[in-house]
């Protein structure tokens, strides 16, 4: 998996994702990674019936964006691309009433480990990344979906106060700052 991250996005998220996809294919060609049908033509990003982006030809793509400040347009974006099902979520740690959200959207075991807003954002991004990778429309709203002990989930601190989580079966996750 390669995760492309931009902190000062000045184009649409779809345009940025297309640029990332082109970079991924370039890297794949340079690395001689075989990706079905991708190497021979420029891949396109499509949207499924739920509006989620995906790529034909053996690649999976996930996009997440957020804002540094409440009233700013989304200007922090992460695009994860992988030959396996992929999910990514990025959030700015901020002051929030996380107790109510935790009670509704996390199971009892997860709630035990959420004791601060930072813990909350770690768990939130992990659950969101899992939801995106599973492509299950309803799974996110079911607290029984457990993120604890899930080896496909990884969380990173990127930039100041920004947390990013990915869900992937890939052994390695590489980051590219744009």
């Amino acid at each position: 998996m390669i995760v492309f991250v931009s902190k000062n996005l000045n184009k649409s998220s779809l345009e940025f994702a297309e640029d990332c996809l082109e970079q991924y294919c370039y890297i794949a060609r340079q690395s001689r990674i075989s990706i079905e049908n991708v190497l021979s033509k420029r891949p396109k990003i499509y949207k499924d019936e739920n509006g989620r982006p995906y790529v034909c030809g053996g690649l999976y793509l996930s996009i997440s964006h957020t804002s540094a400040n409440l009233s700013d347009k989304h200007n922090i974006i992460a695009v994860a691309i992988s030959p396996n099902p992929a999910g990514v979520d990025i959030e700015v740690c901020r002051s929030i009433d996380w107790t109510k959200i935790s009670q509704r959207y996390f199971n009892a075991a997860e709630q035990k480990d959420i004791n601060s807003s930072r813990d909350f954002f770690k768990f939130w991004t992990r659950k969101e990344a899992l939801y995106k990778a599973s492509r299950d429309q309803k799974s996110f709203y079911v607290p029984k979906i457990n993120t604890l002990g899930n080896a496909d989930l990884r969380t990173y601190d990127i930039f100041e106060n920004v947390i990013l989580s990915v869900c992937t079966k890939d052994e390695s996750v590489y980051f590219c700052s744009c």
Partner: protein, 74 residues
């Protein structure tokens, strides 16, 4: 509906006048997934209801919220 518009505007840091029926919460009003959840919980708190999971997932535009207002008799 004005109460709901006020809730959304406060959580998203926008003007109430920015919200129209056709407004897409994510694309037009800049709501990310967490802010959407905050909006839904605030609506539930305000009107003492609990949204069904299928209804919560279906919300994409302000018009979807207007539709649910009728469904839940708010």
């Amino acid at each position: 509906m004005e109460k709901i518009k006020n809730i959304i505007a406060e959580i998203l840091g926008i003007n109430v006048t920015d919200i129209v029926s056709e407004s897409r919460l994510k694309e037009d009003l800049n709501a990310d997934s967490l802010k959407l959840v905050q909006i839904l919980l605030a609506i539930e708190d305000e009107f003492q209801i609990e949204l069904e999971d299928e209804d919560a997932v279906s919300i994409k535009t302000f018009a979807d919220i207007e539709r649910l207002v009728k469904k839940y008799g708010i």
